[in-house]
Symmetry: C2
Subunit: 418 residues, 2 copies
């Protein structure tokens, strides 16, 4: 029963290695990423063999097809990991960027400079690709990383981390730059989130239950990736074609992700004309619609939406519909029931669009576009470690810059305070 000791020892190793990465040059970090990409390609056979063992165990345990798909690696998925690492190489190093510079009246020159966060803990579930994606981003931002993946992917993740460790050795960086907690024991998570002595930040990815547990119990600061109960509001002035296309895209293009729309709000002024058209299009894609009383009086055969529906993230081909009195009711509904992720208004009225953008308190607010664009690549960050729904440190898609902190660098000539 010395699991906790192992977790603590690895956290300590990560902390120590983070001091080396803290001052690593962009060239050094890119050399490491190139070594990782090269080794992933060369060593794919052994990685896939370990993944096959995980898959066999998962199948024997009767795990769902969805989970099996998340867990599965193949040559194509490894190529995608490699491409992802090479994308990160091509991104500029955020460390050292001077965000602000001023000369004070007393002659002090004060710069605010980006520095690595230090030691980052990533807690995630079944997908083994997170091991490489997250490690590459953390390393490029100068952070050492402690990984805790799902128990189903233990062998796959161990194989991937072994590849990274060999790449670290190739370029002469300490093995502690990337450590992996290779136990299925859930108490390792409870242990890890108390190690603020060694770990500077925890990024949990996974179920809301896991994230909630971590938020409530972590002594380490957490960046949470919450759920996406996203809305599209079709305003009375909306162009019908835009309304149909945006609602359809936001709901149907990839329903299992957090920036997919879950709710349709529609202005009573156009509900009778627009709702049947929108509903018909959604139903062609087999979307189940659940409506409030008014929308059910317009479109037949909708299930009734309950109070619970307004709060819910379906992550599926389900959409709840509500007829509202206009933009004010839409904004109030979104701020009350939404998850502050991504919300969009379809309107031809500029003032109402701007009002919506100003008053809806979400990580991303849109006028006349699909909520599906909330994404690090679509937002031009070049990469994404996740989408934060909290208000502290990072909100919305998180790229390399969000994996850094800052420090004030002050240059003087003997100044003392009066």
């Amino acid at each position: 029963m010395n699991k906790p000791k192992i977790v603590e020892r690895k956290a300590e190793a990560v902390k120590e290695a983070s001091a080396v990465l803290y001052t690593a040059t962009a060239a050094k970090k890119n050399a490491l990423l190139r070594a990782i990409a090269g080794r992933l390609e060369k060593e794919s056979t052994s990685i896939l063999r370990q993944n096959e063992a995980d898959l066999a165990a998962a199948r024997a345990a009767g795990i769902s097809a969805v989970l099996l798909d998340r867990l599965a690696l193949n040559e194509k998925r490894i190529s995608q990991m490699v491409a992802g690492v090479r994308d990160v190489i091509s991104l500029p190093d955020p460390v050292g960027e001077v965000l602000d510079r001023q000369r004070r009246p007393n002659g002090l020159v004060i710069e605010k400079v980006r520095v690595p966060l230090g030691a980052v803990g990533i807690i995630y579930e079944a997908r083994p690709n997170v091991t490489i994606d997250a490690a590459a981003l953390c390393l490029k931002a100068g952070n050492a990383v402690l990984l805790k993946g799902g128990s189903e992917a233990l062998k796959s993740n161990s194989a991937l981390v072994a590849v990274v460790k060999r790449a670290l050795r190739d370029v002469g960086l300490p093995a502690g730059c990337v450590e992996f907690i290779d136990t299925a024991d859930r108490s390792a998570v409870a242990e890890l989130i108390k190690l603020d002595k060694y770990i500077d930040i925890i990024i949990p990815r996974g179920s809301q239950t896991l994230i909630r547990f971590i938020q409530e119990n972590s002594a380490v600061p957490v960046i949470a990736h919450g759920e996406g109960n996203c809305h599209v509001y079709v305003d009375g002035s909306a162009n019908l074609r835009d309304a149909v296309e945006i609602v359809f895209n936001a709901k149907v293009q990839r329903p299992s992700v957090c920036n997919a729309a879950e709710k349709l709000l529609i202005d009573e002024k156009v509900a009778v004309r627009y709702l049947p058209r929108i509903a018909a299009r959604l139903r062609k894609a087999r979307v189940e619609l659940r409506g409030d009383r008014k929308s059910r009086s317009i479109v037949a055969d909708m299930l009734p939406a309950t109070e619970e529906d307004w709060h819910k993230e379906y992550l599926d081909l389900v959409m709840a519909v509500k007829v509202v009195k206009g933009v004010d009711e839409a904004i109030a509904h979104i701020n009350r029931y939404g998850s502050h992720h991504s919300d969009s208004i379809v309107t031809a009225n500029k003032a109402r669009g701007e009002k919506f953008l100003r008053e809806v308190d979400s990580a991303a607010v849109y006028v006349n576009a699909s909520t599906r664009f909330t994404d690090g690549f679509e937002f031009g960050l070049g990469a994404e470690i996740g989408i934060s729904t909290q208000k502290l440190h990072a909100r919305g898609p998180m790229g390399l810059a969000e994996l850094t902190s800052t420090k004030f660098v002050v240059r003087g000539k003997g100044q003392v305070r009066k």
Copy 2:
């Protein structure tokens, strides 16, 4: 025993009011601050009467002279509060500032815009002026605020919050913009830090024990103001006069604050020549020196420094001294034992200065200046809600900008994701 209900009800009121402040104009917020300043001046007699009652109770309870001084208000201190509020009026409104703007290849225009954090909880101890200082900064940044002050200052704080509530009424803003937990019950803190349903961020100010309790138990994200175990390293190339003045200023000018230096590291190349001069100057100000073996062999009558000393924040006229082999040992010592607050090198060697600035991982790093400059006003932020020693969201002096979040504002023309 319905204390928790009261805390929750107030948190809910703050959350509701935060929606109004979210879109309040700068003019409105400044009108509020003017009303607060005006009423503080007009109603000072009744505030001082309540403060006198707190002071009488504190004296009867045998509270220390230091604490009594923190608790005490007088006309001058009220004038300072008023001046502080007027300073905040003169600062630009951070809300609405566009931090980044890009047009994507698909025509989407994406802005990153500053928005209020929402509902801010401030937990503090004896000083009643924090009630006004913190409220003014939070309100200017568009946040509603829930205050929990020390039990010794209950009547003073209640009087100050009553003034703020009347000012809110004067300008037609909801009373819930500033709520105050008017109980001495410590369980109110435990209750408050679980209310992430209503409160977006907690800023604790006070003892390390209080802050640690909050960090370990809060479900609400915390911005911690940790201790300041600050160092001055006198390099072998340092100018003697600069070394003496900077060490003296950093230690003596105001020893009770977090940016005062607690440790002197000195290069062995100059220790024999410089240390007696520095020690003599410090001793004139009655600084107690505690030295490692080498420094005690140079300057007689130093107490021996223990391992504990290297970790300690004295907040007093005490300084521990260590002779080091050069800049590398100094950096390693600071990163190991320091609190990552403010650390300075005195050197005439540019390369060693830059190395220190790059490698020391603290909120503020200095070359040839006193650590005492780590302060929102000295850094040109115009105000300060505290000095963060954590790496997330805000590091170093926190001004108005650090009391905001951001959102992505996306303007489209019907774009959907392919």
